[in-house]
């Protein structure tokens, strides 16, 4: 039976970009406000879950040709590597630093090394959550 779900498709094509924008906003507001890598990764994976719900697994796999287990592995390596980077400066493991730099367009900007660590966390969360959802939702 052919099921007509054009409303869900039309809503999803717009809502996915809103969800991705919110995920990026939450990821970058993580230093002083609610947010961070874990929450941003969860919202990002919820966008992927919405795509998997609306379309099927094959379509999304051809549209986003990444292996999510590899994404989780790369994220874990990034998080541990940025933690190890502080050892080269004689600081304890996972020490973070920040500084204020004058950028051309943005002006005075705070750049922190914790953003790299948070990007690793976000990749881990996206990979693990999407892998779990696909493993559970896969019917026999």
């Amino acid at each position: 039976m052919k099921i007509n779900d054009v409303i869900l498709h039309s809503v999803t094509k717009v809502a996915v970009f809103i969800i991705l924008t919110l995920a990026v906003y939450l990821f970058f507001s993580g230093h002083h406000n609610p947010g961070g890598g874990f929450i941003g990764g969860l919202i990002l994976s919820s966008a992927f879950v919405l795509l998997f719900l609306t379309f099927d697994v094959e379509t999304v796999k051809t549209a986003v040709p990444v292996d999510f287990k590899t994404v989780a592995a790369v994220g874990a390596f990034t998080a541990v590597a940025t933690g190890l980077g502080s050892l080269f400066f004689g600081q304890p493991f996972l020490s973070q630093a920040f500084g204020y730099f004058g950028l051309p367009i943005l002006g005075e900007t705070e750049l922190a090394t914790v953003t790299l660590f948070e990007s690793g966390i976000a990749l881990v969360v996206v990979g693990v959550v999407v892998t779990i959802i696909l493993s559970i939702g896969e019917d026999v």
Partner: protein, 94 residues
């Protein structure tokens, strides 16, 4: 005065959530329970909005967005489960 109105609205939202909770527990069919769950989620979003007005802060607005997104996705998933019996399909038939 405005504080009294906000607190009264919070109490009424609590009563509405209680009524919806009765519908979830005693609901005869699955769509009744899903609609009641959606109703509770919308009421929670409204409660967060009222509380952020009451406390005069902007810190809760991300929680509203996140809860709205999760509510939308969960409602879509339940509707998909009722309609087809399978939530994530391997391959669409078209």
């Amino acid at each position: 005065m405005i504080t009294f109105m906000l607190v009264a609205s919070l109490i009424l939202f609590g009563v509405a959530v209680g009524i919806a909770l009765y519908r979830i527990i005693a609901g005869p069919t699955l769509p009744d329970r899903i609609t009641a769950m959606d109703f509770i989620g919308v009421n929670l979003i409204s409660v967060i909005g009222v509380i952020s007005v009451l406390f005069n802060t902007l810190a809760f607005l991300e929680a509203i967005l996140v809860m709205a997104i999760l509510l939308f996705i969960s409602t879509v998933a339940f509707a998909r489960y009722i309609e087809r019996g399978v939530i994530i399909e391997r391959k669409r038939d078209r």
